[in-house]
């Protein structure tokens, strides 16, 4: 890798605005994206990606290739939280270990979106059904996380929480809007896409850019939390994504995914959830410390993935697929 991938990734406006956001916090500018704008941006991005994915899924249909990809996605979503849980237990208690494991088993939609923007830039094709993989990988980790907590801690009252867990896992606003938009995309097809395109496609980069500006602000504000988390968690937050992406790439190669899809799959495996899962964990495992599971995902893994990870995994693909 001659660094040119990283540089062409970094010179993208969305990534540059992410840096601008981080800089704003570092130099103590009072720049802020006022609430609830960030929430609106994230609703928009979930809507746009889900809807477009649905439209493309109906075009491609559900082939064996699609089924294999979705299966692999499910598998990784269940496997990642289990093995990371045991790594995390080396240093953390069961609650925190399960919470962080769930975070890393799930995915970050914005990392996925950034990766797909990167692929579009480079002219590498990828399939719309990868959004279905994204949707499938959001929830299982939450459930696996809670099973782990139940297995490794003794707490009578926890039993009661199952209905709440399922609700949090499958009906939280991120998952619900993404899956809903995907289904509506499926139902309304090419025809629906035509009327929505200026909104769902035209604004996409701009909205992503503003969202990443805000993410830069948020991630930088979280950086001071990292002092509390310690070296172990920081290394975890960089190494595990690389490892997960690596495993993801091997599976992708095995089942013969095309390169674009393989990158998106690796990014899904490598990314960690900083909205949906923390919200669910806060309710279902209140014993876990939010500043651990939010800050690692937000202030380390997210920036790492969008700046270094995406081009790195693509480099891996170039090596493996040669």
């Amino acid at each position: 890798m001659d660094g040119s991938l990283i540089i062409s990734n970094i010179l993208n406006p969305p990534i540059l605005f992410f840096f601008l956001g981080m800089t704003a916090v570092l130099v103590k500018s009072d720049l802020e994206i006022p609430p609830p704008v960030p929430k609106l941006l994230s609703l928009y991005l979930l809507f746009a990606i889900g809807f477009k994915g649905g439209v493309e899924l109906i075009k491609s249909g559900i082939t064996q290739e699609v089924a294999l990809t979705l299966l692999a996605a499910m598998l990784m979503a269940c496997f990642v939280p289990i093995y990371t849980f045991f790594i995390l237990k080396l240093k953390l208690d069961n609650y925190d270990a399960a919470a962080i494991a769930a975070t890393y088993g799930s995915i970050s939609a914005v990392t996925f979106i950034t990766a797909s923007a990167f692929l579009t830039e480079l002219g590498i094709a990828f399939d719309g059904y990868m959004v279905a993989a994204l949707a499938l990988m959001e929830s299982p980790a939450i459930i696996v996380g809670l099973i782990l907590v139940n297995l490794f801690t003794v707490d009578e009252k926890r039993e009661l929480a199952w209905s709440e867990v399922l609700k949090e896992a499958f009906l939280n606003s991120s998952v619900f809007l993404l899956v809903g938009s995907l289904l509506i995309g499926l139902l309304s097809g090419e025809h629906g896409w035509k009327v929505m395109e200026p909104f769902a496609q035209g604004l996409f980069y701009g909205m992503l850019t503003f969202f990443l500006l805000d993410m830069g602000l948020v991630a930088a504000r979280r950086i001071k939390d990292l002092q509390k988390t310690g070296v172990f968690l920081i290394s975890f937050a960089i190494l595990i994504p690389i490892l997960n992406a690596g495993i993801g790439l091997l599976i992708a190669k095995l089942i013969g995914m095309p390169q674009g899809n393989a990158l998106l799959f690796a990014v899904l495996c490598a990314s960690a959830s900083y909205i949906a899962v923390p919200a669910a964990i806060r309710i279902t495992v209140p014993e876990a410390n939010p500043s651990l599971y939010v800050s690692t995902a937000l202030a380390v893994t997210f920036p790492f993935n969008i700046i270094v990870g995406i081009p790195l995994y693509l480099y891996g693909i170039e090596l493996l697929w040669r």
């Binding site: 609430p35 609830p36 504000r221 939390d225 509390k228 909205i275 209140p286």
Partner: protein, 103 residues
Amino acid sequence: MHAVKRIEIIANSFELGKILDSLNKAGVHGHAVIRNVAGKGLRDGHEDLDMTMLDNVYIIAFCKPDLIKPVVENLTPLLNKFGGTCYISEVMEIRSIKCVASL
């Protein structure tokens, strides 16, 4: 004018439903909710309005003094589990008669 109690609760927004339920069960049926409250408490060491899930709500409820006991009993386990704070003070209520014609 007559004396009532003022209950102030600051908690994470995900607790809102549970807290209103438990106020309701204790017999406190009126309340006002302010969203998007930033804050710093014992549990989380930072201003946390930044993401979707971490904003606080500020709940105010006025009620008759004798309801305070059940309210406290209902709320304490919730606040112990999920975090949040509750304060009680004295206020005078200006009685007002509502003019709804029919319900």
